[in-house]
Amino acid sequence: MKVRLVDIAHARSGDKGDTANVGVIALRREWYDLIARELTERRVADHFRGVISGDVQRYELPNLSALNFLLHGALDGGGTLSLKTDAQGKVFSTALLRMVLDVPDAEASSLGLPSA
């Protein structure tokens, strides 16, 4: 089943130099494991291909049902150098939430995931 990340998680993003960080938080604690399994560094790097120039680092915060991603080379130099509307990476959060996950039907229904 197709599941939109925006239906199972919320997020906030910010900047540190030319790096945007995106914290992704499961809307329900029991959805965290699925999100942690699906949102690998590689998957997120693929998602942002052509948008960021550097690599992606991931950190886990199971205590907050959250993952933290660092997207390097995301902000055209960052801060005051950047010519981008989103020079401070404020809406990389919602850009990540555009992801759509493929979840086995049985798992999706046992977790009560909303379908896309």
């Binding site: 919320h10 906030r12 540190k16 052509g50 948008v51 950190y59 907050l64 933290n68 509307t85």
Partner: protein, 454 residues
């Protein structure tokens, strides 16, 4: 010892809501008002102001904020901690002293001033003594941009603020203190936490992180369930209710809008996060993976379980340097074919800049309404958009080239693609870029000082 100390956040950055400080001291009981004014490049803006006038160089908004909370400070003993001093904390303190005198409170307000973070006068000596101040991102030594440096400030921690409070300061003014120290210091002072009580210091730092962006933890910029967050017009800024054991609750004044929930606090916790295992501050290394949250009442979240590790032997240094010029121009194209028209104008503009022989380090076009924020992730753009804003920016070392670019936008209104408007703002402004250079320095090289005046 008090069993609960209440630290209220009144400003999350320079430019935040002017009403917030007064609302925080009048909306209910608080012990401390914490005002955070400094972002990464704010120091350089203040340094430019100080060069023009040696009495300037601090966050001027702080004077208005102090004016609005002065009765609470004088009559009710609310204490204020602010990094409003920027690159001139002494002048800032003098301005507050003058304000108090003007309002009939002359001599009644003890002001603590923290100095020692400003490394600009010592920069050449430090480099000569073998401190390269290498850029933490690129590894380049500071000597490569030394001539262009505008400001250099070490991020300092809670210790001098604790000292100022101990010496009776009712208002503590710092320069480049860390945002989080402004909240941790009063907790450390009131509860007598030892400088190596890592878990509690880390708890104070995390309390600071939660409230340092003001309403961003109490319903502002909150994505989860945003449509149902009540009464943002009347949003309540957050308050840390700290306990001696390092646990604390986040709350806001009764009758205010916004929302404090586990998800709203979590959104703020992940904001600008790096490695959550090691949130490095001058005082302690805090571990965000140890944080536990629970909803302890309506608009009340309890935070506990926090662990910390010993601080490092370095301080981060915030350096600002001149890095060329930029300008951004915009035009709005309307239906029909709004996006196509904007693309056409982009091509025309690029060809003209090319024919003029103008060279830039970077030229960037965005199509606001179609792809400016999410780029290709936005997917297929609807064919009949009502309007699209063309947003065209250039950046380079040559001021004259950037200046010449700014004169190429307006002509497009009459000599480019049709149905264009939204140019009333006039020619784009050339902006000097002041860029950020993060570096590290040995802690032993930075000595802070505290002075208390009245």
């Amino acid at each position: 010892m008090k069993q609960v100390v209440r630290v209220a956040a009144g400003q999350g950055f320079w430019g935040d809501w002017l009403e917030a400080p007064r609302r925080q001291v009048e909306g209910g009981p608080v012990d401390y008002l914490m005002l955070d004014y400094l972002a990464e490049v704010t120091m350089s803006i203040l340094q430019k102001q100080k060069e023009r006038d040696p009495r300037m160089g601090y966050a001027r908004d702080f004077i208005g904020a102090m004016e609005s909370v002065l009765p609470a400070v004088v009559e009710r003993g609310v204490r204020v901690i602010a990094n409003a001093g920027g690159v001139n904390p002494v002048a800032c303190a003098e301005a507050i002293r003058a304000l108090a005198a003007e309002r009939g409170a002359g001599g009644k307000v003890r002001i603590g001033v923290v100095t020692g973070d400003d490394l600009l006068p010592r920069l050449d000596a430090l480099i000569a003594a073998g401190h390269p101040l290498a850029n933490m991102e690129t590894g380049e030594p500071l000597s490569t941009v030394r001539e262009r440096v505008l400001s250099a400030n070490a991020y300092i921690g809670s210790t001098p603020i604790v000292e100022a409070l101990g010496r009776g300061a009712q208002v503590v003014i710092t320069g480049r203190s860390t945002d989080t120290a402004l909240t941790m210091a009063p907790l450390r002072y009131e509860f007598g936490w030892a400088p190596d009580d890592w878990d509690r210091l880390a708890a104070g730092i995390i309390a600071g992180h939660i409230i340092e962006c003001g309403a961003q933890c109490s319903g502002g910029n909150c994505l989860i369930d945003w449509k149902n967050i009540p009464d943002l017009a009347n949003v309540g800024y957050p308050i840390v209710n700290g306990n001696p054991d390092g646990t604390f609750e986040i709350s806001k004044h009764p009758g205010t809008g916004g929302r404090i929930s586990v998800p709203s606090v979590t959104e703020q916790l992940v904001y600008e996060m790096g490695d959550p295992h090691a949130y490095i501050t001058p005082d302690v290394v805090a571990d965000f993976t140890s944080i536990k949250l629970e909803q302890s009442g309506p608009d009340r979240v309890r935070v506990f379980g926090i662990r910390g590790a010993p601080s490092t032997d370095k301080l981060k240094v915030s350096i600002a340097y001149r890095a060329g010029f930029k300008a951004v121009g915009t035009l709005v194209y309307s239906w029909p074919d709004a996006l196509e028209k904007a693309h056409s104008a982009d091509r025309v503009l690029r060809e003209r800049l090319d024919r003029l022989g103008l060279r830039f380090d970077k030229v960037m076009t965005e199509f606001v309404g179609a792809s400016a924020t999410h780029g290709p992730l936005a997917g297929q753009v609807p064919a009949d958009l009502p309007e699209v804003q063309l947003r065209f920016g250039v950046r380079g070392e040559d001021r004259a080239a950037v200046e010449r670019f700014t004169r190429e936008i307006a002509p497009l209104v009459l000599n480019g693609p049709p149905s264009v408007t939204g140019f009333a703002g006039g020619r784009p402004k050339v902006e000097e870029i002041v860029a950020y250079w993060p570096a590290l320095i040995d802690k032993t090289q930075v000595q802070t000082a505290v002075e208390v005046i009245a």
